[in-house]
C-alpha cells in the first residue's frame, strides 16, 4: 500500500480509551470511536463538558493516560509512528520534543524553585534538540512573540514573580521551545480573567501561526475555541458528536447538542422595570483585611429592589466576594451601613438576630464543599426549617419534599448523601437550602462558575423561575458577562474595590462606556471568527 504524500501529521483512528480494572474485563470505557486528522499548521478544537473525554484524548496523543486510563483500541499515528503501541522508552523520546503539553494551571505546573528560563529550555536541551545557548536564544524570541514584558530578562524570574497570564504564556513558550510538531493546549485560559484571557489567547494564536505548529486546543468555551481553531470537534460522554470547520460549527451546527452549546451563552433576560421597594441597600461601604492595611472595598453604595436581581460583576481581586462577606456579617465594614428593608443590620454576624440571619441567605460557588458530606439531603434542607421555623417530623418532611419539587429533583433524593449527586444537582440542593429559610434576599456568589455551560444555564433558569414564585431578590456575584445578561435587572461593575459603573441593565450595557467597562465588555469572547483580531486592534487603538 502506498502512503499518500501529504499525509497528516497526526492521524487518530477509532481511538478507544478505558480504565483497566485490575487488568481484566469489565473495562470502563472513557472514550470510544474517536477519529480525526490533524495536518501540520492546523488547530483542532476539542470541546465538551466535563467528563466528555477531551483532556483524555489530548493526553492520549502523547501516549499518556491519567491514573489507570489506557489506550485499548485504535491507533494514534504521529509522524508515521503509532503511539498506541509504543514502549515507554520510545514515548520518552517523543514527549516534550515532538509533542508538548500546556496545562490549565500554570501555577501548579511550574516548579517554584527554578527560574522560568531553566524550565522553558529544559526539554529542548534534554532531548538534544539544541544547545543551551541556542535554546535560550529561542526562548527569548518566543517571549517576545508571546508579548511578555522585557523578553530579554523575563527568563531570570521565578514563577511566583510573574502574573497568572504571564505564567500561562511562559508555559506556551516552554512547549514551543523544543520546536515540537504538535502541542496539546488543555484549557490554557480557563483559570484566567477575561481581560487576561484575551491577551493570552492572542499571544498563543500569534505563536502558533508563526511557528506553523499543529495544535489540539481543549476547552469548554466555544467562543474561545472559535477564535483559534480551524476545525472543531464536539465531544459528549466520550463520543464524538460533531466534527466540522469552525465556521460551520458555530453558525450551522448539525446536531442538537452542538446547537444547545452555541445558544446557551446567549440567553437574554428581560429586564424588569426599576420600580418597587428597596429591599437591601448599602451606603458607603468600606472594608479592609488585616486591620486597616489592605483596603478591598472603597465607598460602595448599592441598592437592590424587591423581587429583582442585581448583578455585581468584576474580575478577581475586584472585591465582589468581599462585598458578600460584608453583607452576611463575616467581615464587618470599616465604614458604611447595610440596611435590610430600611432597618440597619448589625455589622457583626454574632450580633445579628436569628430573624435577620434568616432574611439574608448565601449560596456558595462550590456546592460540594458547601454541604456537609455526612448529612443527608433531607437534613441539609430540613435544618433551616427546624432552626428558623421549629418544624419537625411530618411537617418538615412535607416541606422538604415541596422544596425538592421546586428545584426539580424527585422524592428519591431526600435520603441521598451529597456525594451521590452531580455538580448541578448539588447546586440545586444549596438553592433549596437557602429557599427553606424563606429569605428576602439571596446572595449568589459565583453559583454557576464551577458548572458546565448547559448545567449552568439550567441553574439560571431555575433561579429566575424561583424568583417569580418566591418573590425573592438576588444579589448575583459573577465574573461572567454572559451570566449577567441572562439574569440581571441591574448591574454593578467593580474594579479594584471601587464601583465603576452602576445602573439598570439597559443603561450599563449601553454606551458611552468608561474605560474599564469597555475593556471588560470587549474582552468577552464572541461566538464569531475574527473577533479576537478586531478586539485586539480596538484595544491597541485605545492605548495609542
Amino acid at each position: 500500500m502506498s502512503e499518500p504524500i501529504n499525509r497528516p501529521l497526526l492521524q487518530v483512528r477509532k481511538l478507544h480509551l478505558a480504565v483497566e480494572a485490575h487488568g481484566v474485563t469489565p473495562l470502563h470505557t472513557i472514550v470510544e470511536d474517536v477519529s480525526f486528522d490533524l495536518p501540520k499548521g492546523q488547530v483542532l478544537g476539542l470541546i465538551g463538558e466535563s467528563g466528555a473525554g477531551k483532556s483524555t484524548i489530548g493526553l492520549a496523543t502523547m501516549g499518556y493516560g491519567r491514573g489507570a486510563v489506557r489506550i485499548v483500541g485504535g491507533s494514534v499515528v504521529l509522524n508515521g509512528k503509532d503511539i498506541a503501541t509504543m514502549q515507554s522508552r520510545d514515548l520518552q523520546a517523543i514527549r516534550g520534543c515532538e509533542v508538548a503539553y500546556v496545562a490549565q494551571s500554570a501555577a501548579l505546573a511550574f516548579n517554584p524553585s527554578h527560574t522560568l528560563m531553566e524550565q522553558v529550555i529544559e526539554s529542548a536541551v534534554l532531548h538534544g534538540r539544541s544547545t543551551r545557548k541556542e535554546a535560550q536564544q529561542r526562548a527569548r524570541a518566543l517571549f517576545a512573540t508571546l508579548r511578555l514584558p522585557d523578553p530579554e530578562n523575563f527568563g531570570s524570574k521565578y514563577p511566583h514573580q510573574v502574573s497568572g497570564g504571564q505564567l500561562q504564556r511562559a508555559m506556551t513558550a516552554m512547549a514551543l521551545c523544543p520546536q515540537p510538531d504538535l502541542i496539546v493546549f488543555d484549557e490554557p485560559t480557563t483559570a484566567l480573567d477575561v481581560t487576561t484571557q484575551m491577551d493570552v489567547l492572542a499571544a498563543i494564536k500569534d505563536a502558533i501561526s508563526e511557528t506553523h505548529v499543529a495544535a489540539l486546543y481543549i476547552t469548554h468555551d466555544l467562543a474561545v475555541v472559535a477564535q483559534i481553531a480551524d476545525r472543531i470537534m464536539v465531544l459528549r460522554n466520550g463520543k464524538m458528536v460533531e466534527l466540522g470547520e469552525t465556521e460551520q460549527i458555530i453558525h450551522f451546527p448539525r446536531e442538537t447538542y452542538t446547537r444547545d452549546l452555541v445558544t446557551v451563552r446567549s440567553e437574554q433576560h428581560n429586564e424588569k422595570p426599576a420600580n418597587g421597594d428597596i429591599i437591601l441597600s448599602m451606603q458607603g461601604i468600606c472594608a479592609s483585611y488585616g486591620g486597616e492595611k489592605t483596603k478591598v472595598l472603597e465607598d460602595v453604595s448599592l441598592e437592590l429592589l424587591a423581587g429583582q436581581t442585581l448583578a455585581v460583576v468584576g474580575e478577581s481581586g475586584s472585591g465582589k466576594s468581599t462585598l458578600a462577606r460584608v453583607l452576611v456579617g463575616l467581615l464587618p465594614p470599616t465604614q458604611g451601613t447595610v440596611q435590610l428593608q430600611g432597618a440597619p443590620l448589625h455589622a457583626r454576624l454574632q450580633d445579628r438576630t436569628r430573624e435577620e440571619l434568616r432574611r439574608l441567605q448565601l449560596i456558595y460557588q462550590m456546592a460540594d464543599v458547601a454541604m456537609n458530606p455526612r448529612h443527608r439531603i433531607r437534613d441539609i434542607i430540613g435544618r433551616p426549617l427546624t432552626f428558623y421555623f421549629g418544624m419537625n417530623g411530618q411537617e418538615r418532611d412535607r416541606r422538604v419534599q415541596e422544596l425538592l419539587d421546586e428545584i426539580e429533583l424527585g422524592a428519591g433524593f431526600a435520603d441521598r448523601f451529597p456525594a451521590e449527586l452531580s455538580g448541578g444537582q448539588k447546586q440545586r440542593v444549596c438553592i433549596a437550602r437557602a429557599l427553606a429559610a424563606k429569605p428576602e434576599v439571596i446572595i449568589c456568589d459565583e453559583v454557576t462558575s464551577a458548572l458546565d455551560p448547559l448545567v449552568a444555564g439550567g441553574i439560571l433558569k431555575l433561579l429566575l423561575r424561583l424568583q417569580e414564585i418566591e418573590k425573592v431578590s438576588y444579589l448575583f456575584i459573577t465574573h461572567d458577562l454572559a451570566t449577567v445578561s441572562a439574569i440581571a435587572d441591574s448591574i454593578a461593575v467593580m474594579h479594584r474595590g471601587h464601583l465603576v459603573r452602576y445602573g439598570s441593565k439597559s443603561e450599563v450595557l449601553a454606551p458611552p462606556f468608561d474605560d474599564y467597562t469597555k475593556l471588560l465588555f470587549d474582552s468577552v469572547p464572541r461566538m464569531e471568527q475574527g473577533w479576537l483580531e478586531s478586539a485586539m486592534a480596538g484595544r491597541t487603538k485605545n492605548v495609542a
Binding site: 452576611v328 436569628r354 456537609n372 451521590e420
Partner: protein
C-alpha cells in the same frame, strides 16, 4: 450484616486480630464465671508447675495463676477502656471547641495542654498517684486526663481543616451555636481519623497501666491487672519459673491484636473517605 461482610473480605491478619480481641473481651466480661478458682484464695504451694488442676500453675503466694490472669484481664480492659473513653471525650471535645471558638479559648486550652505535655507522662502520673490513693476511679481519671492531651492535638488539627470548609461557614451564617457546629458539622467528618487513633490510644493505655502497676502505683493488691501480675511473679523468673511470662504474653498478644484491627480500620476508612457519605 454489613459488618459481617466487611469481616469476610478483611485480610487474614485483621480477622485474626478481631478474633483475639473478641476472645479477650469475652474473657473479661465472663471473668467471674469462667475463673476456675477464687483469684484471691490460696489454693496450693508457691509457684506450683503447670498441671491439669492449675493450667498455668500457681503464683508467688500459691494462688491459681489462671484465675488471676482472667480476673486481671477484666481489670486491665475495664480501666484502660474507661481511661481511653475519657481521654477521647475530653480531648476531642476540647480540641473541637478550641478550633471552632478560636481566639483566647484556643490559646488558653492549647497552652494548658502544652504545659501538661511538657512533663513526662509517667513521672507526672507517679507524682499524682503518690499523693492520691491508687483507687480504680483515680487511676482512670489520671490516665484519661494525661492521654487526652494527645487526643486534643489530633482533634484540633483535624477540626481546623474542617472548620474552614464552606458548610461550616454556612452553619455559622445560619446562626447555629458552637455545640451544633462541633457535634453535628465537625464530629461526623472527624470520626475517621479519630476512630483509627482510638485503637492506638487504647493500647497505650494498657501499656501505661501495666507500667504503673509494675511500679506498684497502679492496681493495688490483692486485685491485680496484668502489669501487677508480672510484678508479683518477676522474682520467679530467676528460678526458671514461667509464672511472670503468662501476663506479659497476654499484654503482647492484646497489643498486637488491637494494632492489627486498627490498621485494617484505618485502611478501610481512608479508602472510603470522600467517596462515600457514611461509614
Amino acid at each position: 450484616m454489613k459488618f459481617l461482610n466487611l469481616v469476610r473480605k478483611a485480610p487474614l491478619s485483621a480477622q485474626l486480630g478481631l478474633l483475639l480481641c473478641a476472645a479477650f473481651t469475652l474473657v473479661a466480661a465472663l471473668a467471674h464465671w469462667i475463673a476456675p478458682f477464687d483469684s484471691a484464695a490460696i489454693v496450693g504451694d508457691v509457684w506450683m508447675p503447670i498441671s491439669t488442676k492449675h493450667w498455668l500453675g500457681t503464683d508467688n503466694l500459691g494462688r491459681d495463676l489462671m484465675s488471676r490472669l482472667i480476673q486481671g484481664t477484666q481489670t486491665t480492659l475495664v480501666i484502660a477502656g474507661l481511661a481511653t473513653i475519657l481521654s477521647f471525650t475530653l480531648g476531642s471535645v476540647a480540641g473541637f471547641v478550641a478550633s471552632v471558638a478560636g481566639g483566647w479559648v484556643d490559646m488558653a486550652l492549647s497552652r494548658a495542654v502544652d504545659v501538661l505535655m511538657a512533663i513526662p507522662t509517667l513521672i507526672f502520673a507517679l507524682v499524682v498517684l503518690s499523693v492520691f490513693p491508687s483507687t480504680v476511679p483515680v487511676l482512670i481519671l489520671v490516665m484519661g486526663i494525661l492521654d487526652s492531651t494527645r487526643v486534643y492535638r489530633l482533634a484540633r488539627a483535624v477540626a481546623m481543616d474542617i472548620n474552614v470548609m464552606d458548610f461550616v461557614e454556612a452553619a455559622r451564617l445560619r446562626g447555629e451555636k458552637t455545640s451544633w457546629i462541633v457535634f453535628r458539622e465537625i464530629l461526623p467528618n472527624a470520626l475517621t481519623p479519630l476512630v483509627s487513633e482510638l485503637g492506638m490510644r487504647f493500647i497505650f493505655a494498657v501499656l501505661f497501666l501495666s507500667a504503673l502497676s509494675f511500679l506498684g502505683l497502679g492496681v493495688q493488691p490483692p486485685d491485680a491487672d496484668w502489669g501487677g501480675l508480672v510484678k508479683e511473679n518477676k522474682e520467679g523468673i530467676v528460678f526458671g519459673i514461667p509464672a511472670g511470662l503468662a501476663p506479659a504474653a497476654a499484654i503482647a498478644l492484646l497489643t498486637i491484636a488491637v494494632n492489627l484491627v486498627a490498621d485494617w480500620v484505618l485502611n478501610l476508612t481512608s479508602n472510603v473517605r470522600g467517596e462515600q457519605g457514611n461509614v
